[in-house]
Amino acid sequence: MSKVRLKIDGRDVEAEKGMTVLDAARRAGISIPALCHHEKLEPLGGCRLCMVEVEVRGSARLVVSCVYTVAEGLTVRTRSEKVDRIRKGIVELLLAHAPDSPQLAGFAREYGADRNRFEPEPSFCILCGLCVRYCAEVVGKHAVGFIDRGIRKEISFVPEIAAKECDACKACFPLCPTSYLQAAFVLTGSLVFPGGGESVRDR
């Protein structure tokens, strides 16, 4: 595989062609925050926390590093005043949805985000898609998916599949940055099997 040379935070980094900026940085030991990234999964570009500044032929712009592929001679800044300000805003927006997420609380401390900047709108899910992609790409069961779009978008279990597969698996539970997933699972169980059927008996 052919190599590409780029500069990340002033350091010369070598990466393979087709790699994303996020992977190249992490391999070089430079950390970029992300909530929707998982090494086994196709990138989604959902949480936008991995936003970095790249400079191509002298002009700087902001890109989402988990879906931006490396290029020869690229200059990347993973921390700059602009990047930090944008990450702070993103964390504040996500906190409005999931105020109690421990991962978000950590980012809030790091970027000085104010958890009360936006009116709380607890949907608890930040639509990172980790559960949806993990179930589809790694487990191959497609038991949970997205429904609707825009502000009404949410995750939803397919009851017929979830009832058969999920009790024995639950591989997606620890991936969820907000723990909403478990709540959605229990909710689906109690809607489909009111009074505690097979799928919710143990809880």
């Binding site: 949806v132 497609h142 949970v144 998916g145 997205f146 429904i147 779009r149 939803s156 017929e160």
Partner: protein, 150 residues
């Protein structure tokens, strides 16, 4: 819903998973909505997971996962129609059909929606039924228009 007609639609697309949206559009056209049983059949024959079908079926406005009437009534409440009395027209449509915007009557005859502009403001107030535009609608004339649909 009969499975035969669903199968026919799927076969017309050679059971290609990439034709998912076309298949759903044709089912939508035939039944005015996407019944769960039809979606399951589509998933089985096109080998597309249910989660993916639900994502697509709820993403596009052209699809409905709840039953819709045989005739789709759109009452324009855009600015031009509004000042020409769209609210009175809407009220009258609601009274005659017995349904509010977003609803479908029990006989599955009409589904009522409001829209923000149909692009023919000079004809306002406008209502559109099954794609046919009725302009300069008066409160008194609505019963006559709705009566033409079975």
């Amino acid at each position: 819903m009969d499975t035969a007609s669903i199968d026919q639609i799927i076969d017309r697309h050679q059971g290609e998973a990439s034709s998912l949206i076309q298949v759903l559009l044709e089912i939508q056209r035939e039944y005015h909505w996407l019944p769960q049983a039809a979606l399951r059949e589509v998933g089985r024959k096109l080998k597309v997971p249910m989660a993916r079908i639900q994502h697509v079926a709820t993403f596009y406005k052209a699809f409905s996962v709840v039953p819709k009437g045989r005739h789709r009534v759109h009452v324009c409440v855009g600015t031009a129609c509004h000042v020409r009395g769209a609210m009175r027209v809407l009220e009258s449509v609601q009274d005659l059909s017995g349904i509010a915007p977003g609803e479908t009557d029990l006989e599955h005859k009409f589904s009522l929606e409001t829209v923000n502009c149909l692009g023919c403001c000079a004809l306002g107030p406008v209502i559109e039924i099954d794609g046919k535009v009725h302009g300069n609608v008066t409160k008194a004339g609505i019963a006559g228009i709705l009566g033409r649909y079975e």
